[in-house]
Amino acid sequence: MIVIENASVITNTEIASGIWQLEVESPQICSEYAGPGQFISLLTDNGWEHPLRRPMSIAGVNGSQLTIIYKIFGDVTILLSQMKKGDLLNFLGPVGNTFSGWDNADVNPILIGGGVGLAPILNLKKACDDNNRDAAIIIGARTGSEHSMKHDPDNSIFLTTDDGSVGEKGTVMPVLERLANDMKNVMLFACGPEPMLKAVQSFAVSAGILTQLSVESYMACGIGLCQGCAIETPNTNGSKHSYHEQFSLVCMDGPVYPASEVTFA
């Protein structure tokens, strides 16, 4: 069930350059939470200058505490970064479906994240750890200061940067291809900027690897009313909530899709 509640800020800290982590007390949403992949939609502005909620992936749930990770992008995220302990934020959630299949004993999960796509991927990594599933994780960024983790290949944590300042130079793709070639029964889980998702999708399709992508979309309501968050999909049966075949609603049918069911523009 989706609920609306005023979540109380516990911590709000910059964990890397322009990347923030917000931890709130949100007992109702936490009790409805179904797993990594789900998101919340929040309001920072009690006035109406910014009328729409902002969908943000859940980066972790611990008891009644919920964590999100956001990137400073515009006015709303700047406002969000100014929230202090005890401030209340209006949250709607949990929304959407979850990653699946990662807990299957026959599967070796590789998790790929970039930018704000980090949030659900870290959440999934924790779920894998908690379930004693060895999961490799690859995180991409433009430069080292945008990374919040340590490059640690011995523990299957791989960082990449466009400028080579941290981890491996380049995109996540060469690392992914190398790992996927070395491992058996691989399954990929990715969230990040569209060019990254496209590259993962194209690799996965050509290599025949099962892959789930968590996609982003502009969203007004988050509960299937506005039909604004539609994405194109080649699938003719999967979109239960958009009432038609060509489009799927990210809020109700997503945000996690099999790679084969997403058509990028």
Partner: protein
């Protein structure tokens, strides 16, 4: 307790707060988040003769104090609507106003005939002649008084239920279109539909909406809606349903003062689907505080400087 009931034509509603077309689905989607039985009425998303996929993404973008949408009337089509949605309306305990959109007169008539052929607790029809986003949304009618009147008369012959024509602000003089609707036999007009708008991403140098132009809604358009309602109220003798940027009870009262007999909450539902319920409560306290025994006493009572 102040009396919040209001009438449109021969139908009385428990309060003047409706939810606007396109912002509450078919009325059956979210029983958990909101007690819909407390609304005055639910106006459904636009129903067309055949199912519609809608426009390609991006379909929405936020703008200062508003948003632009170009959904493209995505809907299941009237046949599936009658089969799958209409029977469920008995359960939800709130009057349903079905919104109808089409591209030619025959299409509107056909849709109405199909719905009228089954028994339902739909109390009326809001006729969309003002969707800015698709040709099939009736905008051709909405900008032409002769077509508006002809369409209204054709529909009037087919139903005894409430007939409400939803007007566009994207016209030279909204009073002319309102008058045409009333001459054609409409019980009421609702105003306004969204205002043509455009949003550009300067970094990408690209339009933010797939169809380039879309419909602007939200608080940004409230002054436009108020002016339209006030103009129509002073020119045309029919109840008006006010729409445009209503987020709280003060906004709603302003629309009543401008001349509306009821109001619709639209974009605010996206932020909080229960927004209409706090507006009902706020209207009640406004009436108590200002010793207004019946909410309809406020209709058209704005004082002007002339």
């Amino acid at each position: 307790m102040p009396d919040l009931t209001t009438s449109i034509g021969n139908t009385t509603f428990q309060n003047p707060v409706f939810v606007a077309s396109g912002t509450f689905g078919y009325g059956l989607e979210n029983p958990d988040l909101v007690d819909v039985s407390k609304f005055g009425a639910i106006v459904t998303k636009s129903i067309t003769r055949h199912p519609r996929e809608g426009n390609p993404p991006p379909r929405i973008v936020e703008t200062p104090s508003g948003m632009i949408n170009s959904i493209g009337l995505a809907n299941i089509g009237v046949e599936k609507y009658v089969r799958e949605m209409v029977p469920n309306y008995e359960k939800i305990g709130v009057p349903i106003i079905m919104n109808i959109a089409g591209s030619v007169e025959e299409e509107y008539c056909e849709i109405l005939d199909i719905v009228e052929s089954v028994s339902s607790n739909i109390v009326g029809y809001e006729i969309n002649i003002s969707c800015p986003n698709v040709k099939e949304g009736g905008i051709e009618f909405g900008v032409d008084p002769l077509l508006t009147e002809a369409l209204t008369s054709a529909l009037r012959k087919r139903t005894e239920k409430l007939l409400i024509l939803k007007l566009s602000p994207n016209v030279t003089d909204i009073r002319v279109i309102a008058n045409a609707a009333v001459n054609g036999g409409a019980d009421s007009v609702s105003a306004i539909n969204t205002v043509y708008g455009m949003s550009i991403d300067s970094m990408a140098r690209k339009s933010e909406i797939y169809t380039t132009y879309g419909g602007l809604s939200g608080p940004a358009i409230k002054p436009i809606g108020l002016a339209c309602v006030h103009k129509v109220f002073n020119a045309v003798d029919c109840p008006i349903i006010g729409i445009g940027g209503i987020t709280d009870s003060a906004d709603a009262i302003e629309y009543l003062l401008a001349g509306a007999s009821a109001i619709q909450v639209g974009t605010a539902n996206y932020r909080n689907p229960a927004a209409g319920l706090s507006i009902v409560e706020g209207m009640e306290s406004y009436c108590s505080k200002h010793k207004i025994s019946h909410i309809t006493d406020l209709i058209g009572k704005v004082k002007t400087h002339e």
